[in-house]
């Protein structure tokens, strides 16, 4: 192979590899990127059960129910308008509690209950889950007492 051709060949291989990387990334992103929803946008988007998504909002007061095994809980996440039931099995994050902000990773079950694989709670002023940073929690906090029977 002539030297000049060799450099060209290497350049072509490199470009092809990068295009390949882009294609791999695009196809994996299409399948695996999970979108963030609040209960209101979740209803609007009509998400199909089984697709990985994240759900964020406030934990509604009085909604936390702990299971008999000591490690399962269900609770309701709500935003200003709607609410969504969530089931989780595991150790809840340290600052998880009624009225706290939460982001849940998981998927909708066939019964429309959101099954969370992991929970991320609002830690403190410096550590807010990214998705919750611009949601006005005070509004949700104000509405919740009037909505809870």
């Amino acid at each position: 192979m002539k030297p000049k051709h060799q450099r060209l060949l290497l350049a072509i291989i490199a470009v092809a590899a990068l295009v390949g990387a882009g294609l791999i990334a695009a196809s994996a992103l299409r399948e695996e990127a999970s979108y963030f929803y609040t209960p209101t946008t979740l209803v609007a988007a009509n998400v199909e059960p089984g697709k990985a998504i994240r759900l964020g909002g406030m934990v509604q007061k009085g909604s936390i129910v702990r299971g008999g095994d000591g490690v399962s809980i269900t609770f309701t996440v709500r935003d200003q308008r709607r609410s969504q039931k969530v089931a989780y099995r595991g150790i809840t994050p340290d600052l998880f509690g009624e009225g706290s902000g939460v982001v849940a990773d998981g998927r909708l079950g066939p019964d429309r209950v959101f099954v969370a694989d992991s929970l991320l709670a609002k830690h403190d002023e410096n550590y807010v889950p990214r998705e919750l940073a611009d949601i006005d929690m005070s509004a949700a906090a104000k509405t919740k007492d009037t909505l809870v029977p």
Binding site: M1, K2, P3, K4, Q6, R7, L10, I13, A14, A17, L18, G20, A21, G22, I24, A25, A28, L29, E31, E32, A33, S34, Y35, F36, A52, R54, I64, R66, D69, G70, V71, R89, G90, I91, T92, D94, L95, D105, H123, D124, N126, Y127, V128, P129, R130, E131, A133
Partner: protein
């Protein structure tokens, strides 16, 4: 007073960097210049001044001078001494000061040590290095002044994030910074060589120790960060594909590729443009890492403060440096002559394969890391997590491992697979037999853990093959380094595959006196006691783990910190040769029925992950030392001959 002296030292150091840069410009314009002899002394001064500023800040943390804003915000008079000192870089401003200090000291070290390349290239390299430092000095002085005073001084200070109050912190960030900065030196060499038309083996030999050193530090830093996340977060995972983790992995991938291609350039004088490009990419990735971590665009324990001004500043620096570098690359690469030719089936070809696979993995991770940020800018909230990264990177890693079974055995320039046919058959047999064996005994295991174990077994043998047929005493030391590093990769991949394929987990709630089982272990909760530490209180489980009649005590804790208020889990780890028992206890159930949430994991061979990483770094260190020894020997011989 000390704070003001430290600030003055930063200003002076910045002026030294400016001098280096201007002198370098005159050199390029005229080919000489009266300022050029000043470049080296300026580099020494810059290193000394930065070191002074850094120790001044450390002193302020040591005496807890709360009239300094940074100390007041990050320290607390009750904090243990080691964390007071580590607090120097456990915050945004201090960590950026550490960054430039390492950069400046490395510049001084090049000026002092590097004698292989031409004076002109060295001067250009130092000028580029000064230009880089200048940007970071501007960043420190205009938007991240570590010595800013606070009036009036508070009485006790705000404290350090408890997650960061850990011995791991004492060396995790500095280690990564040594790595990032080492790559910036490689970048300066690459641009310096491009500008002065000296892209060749001599330049590659000068650059190689910096790449190797950076790569060793990055390897250790990533492994340490991974282990820290594993035991400190209490989630039982060792890699979360968190953007911050990716920020350290991407420069490592680029550095690994560069490390291999720079060896080709040094020994075979091939892959010239390729190596320069990788050096630019490696540094761009370090900058991107710094940007992602420090800008506050991501929320994590690493993002100390969310401040858009700083984020834009680092982004601007990153775009300017990498943009300029790529422009110089485009303009000058035509002048770099084609290197020595080689056939595709050769050691060079194998290293090209290594570079391609590593670059593809890097690109896939970069896209996955930046995509959510870009989407958010467009108004979509998307998260890209482990499913994406595992799916997109693991298959390419499998190809990389396959290439690694053969690549190091190939000859330079050209080779013939017929020569290696017995080894190829042997490797295929190991792969096939181990796949069948695992599949027979553990059919539930996923495809990737299965392939991972089979490939790591084959690689554990393949790694040693380059020593076959060699006289061991006459083998160059760097070859041993390569062998150990590749073997370390096999060990590490074995640990990853075994952990992800065979971990077992039990999640339950126990009252004192009850027990739970995981993977043949019986773990009994005897009691739960309150414990008090320096600046926290905790509940501590008193547990006994039993297997085959042997009993081991375990004491997991759930800690409550006060400054700032936060809870952390201290997992209890029981290490056996074939894995770890990982036990976490949570705060009591709010119902108060007297039970405690307990999570148990048995993680087979999980310690191999970090053990392998240590071997990889050790291989790098052996190669580095081997080259240094040889260089000293050669220069001694030269000296003797000239005398």
């Amino acid at each position: 007073m000390i704070a003001e002296a430290g600030l003055a030292a930063i200003w002076l150091a910045a002026s030294m960097a400016l001098l280096q840069f201007i002198a370098g410009l005159t050199l390029l314009r005229d080919g000489a210049g009266q300022l050029v002899p000043l470049i080296k002394p300026a580099a020494y001064m810059q290193g000394a001044l930065c070191t002074f500023a850094f120790f001044a800040l450390m002193w302020l943390f040591y005496i807890s001078d709360l009239s300094v804003l940074l100390v007041a915000n990050n320290s607390h008079i009750d904090k243990p001494l080691i964390f007071k000192l580590a607090g120097t870089w456990g915050n945004h401003e201090g960590s950026m000061l550490l960054w430039v200090t390492i950069l400046s000291v490395s510049g001084a070290a090049i000026a002092f040590l590097e004698k292989r390349i031409e004076v002109k290239t060295l001067s250009a390299t130092l000028a580029v290095q000064g230009f880089l430092a200048l940007g970071f000095f501007a960043f420190l002085l205009f938007s991240s002044n570590p010595f800013e005073r606070m009036v009036p001084a508070p009485i006790e200070g705000a404290g350090l994030n408890p997650l960061l109050q850990d011995v791991g912190l004492a060396f995790h960030p500095p280690t990564l910074y040594f790595g990032y900065v080492g790559l910036s030196i490689a970048f300066s060499f690459a641009v310096g060589a491009l500008l002065t038309n000296q892209v060749g083996p001599a330049f590659a030999r000068a650059m190689r120790p910096w790449v190797l050193g950076a790569w060793i530090f990055l390897t250790i830093g990533i492994a340490a960060g991974s282990y820290w996340a594993y035991y400190e977060l209490g989630w039982g995972g060792w890699w979360f594909w968190d953007p911050v983790e990716n920020a350290s992995l991407m420069p490592w991938l680029a550095a690994t590729a560069l490390l291999h291609s720079v060896s080709v350039l040094a020994t075979r004088n091939a892959l010239r443009a390729w190596t320069i490009m990788l050096a630019l990419v490696a540094f761009a990735m370090s900058m991107a890492g710094t940007f992602l971590v420090r800008s506050g665009i991501l929320t994590s324990v690493h993002a100390f403060a969310v401040d858009p001004e700083r984020g834009s500043f680092i982004l601007a620096l990153m775009l300017m440096y990498t943009g300029l570098a790529f422009v110089i690359f485009a303009l000058r690469i035509g002048t770099v002559k084609q290197g020595e030719p080689f056939q595709l089936l050769s050691r060079e070809g194998g290293i090209v394969a290594n570079n391609i696979f590593l670059s593809v993995i890097l690109a896939v991770i970069l896209i996955g890391t930046l995509y959510p940020i870009a989407a958010e800018a467009l108004g979509d909230k998307i998260s890209v997590g482990p499913p994406y990264f595992n799916k997109a990177t693991v298959p390419i890693a499998v190809l990389l491992m396959l290439a690694l079974l053969v690549g190091p055995l190939l000859r330079w320039r050209r080779d013939d697979l017929g020569r290696l046919k017995y080894w190829l058959i042997g490797a295929a047999a190991i792969l096939l037999l181990s796949c069948l064996a695992i599949w027979k005994f553990a059919p539930q295991i996923g495809i990737f853990p299965l392939l991972g174990i089979a490939l790591s077994l084959a690689l554990a043998v393949a790694a040693w093959m380059p020593l076959r047929g060699r006289k061991l005493l006459r083998t160059p030391i760097p070859v041993f380094g390569m062998v150990i590093a590749h073997f370390g990769l096999a060990v590490s991949v074995f640990g990853m595959a075994a952990e992800s394929g065979f971990s077992s987990e039990t999640l339950t709630a126990l009252a004192p006196g009850e027990s739970a089982k995981v993977a043949g272990w019986e773990v009994k909760l005897n009691d739960v006691n309150p414990v008090v530490g320096d600046n926290w209180v905790a509940v501590e489980g008193e547990m006994i783990a039993a297997k085959n009649g042997n009993e081991f005590p375990l004491h997991p804790q759930s800690r409550q910190f006060f400054k700032p208020p936060m809870q952390t889990s201290e997992a209890a780890l029981l290490t056996r040769w074939n894995g770890q028992l990982y036990v976490v206890i949570a705060q009591p159930d709010q119902e108060g029925d007297g039970r405690w949430q307990v999570r148990l994991w048995w993680k087979p061979f999980v310690t191999f992950i970090w053990g392998g990483a240590i071997l990889i770094a050790l291989g790098g260190a052996i190669a580095l030392l081997g080259r240094m020894v040889r260089r000293t020997k050669n220069s001694a011989i030269n000296k003797w001959q000239t005398e």
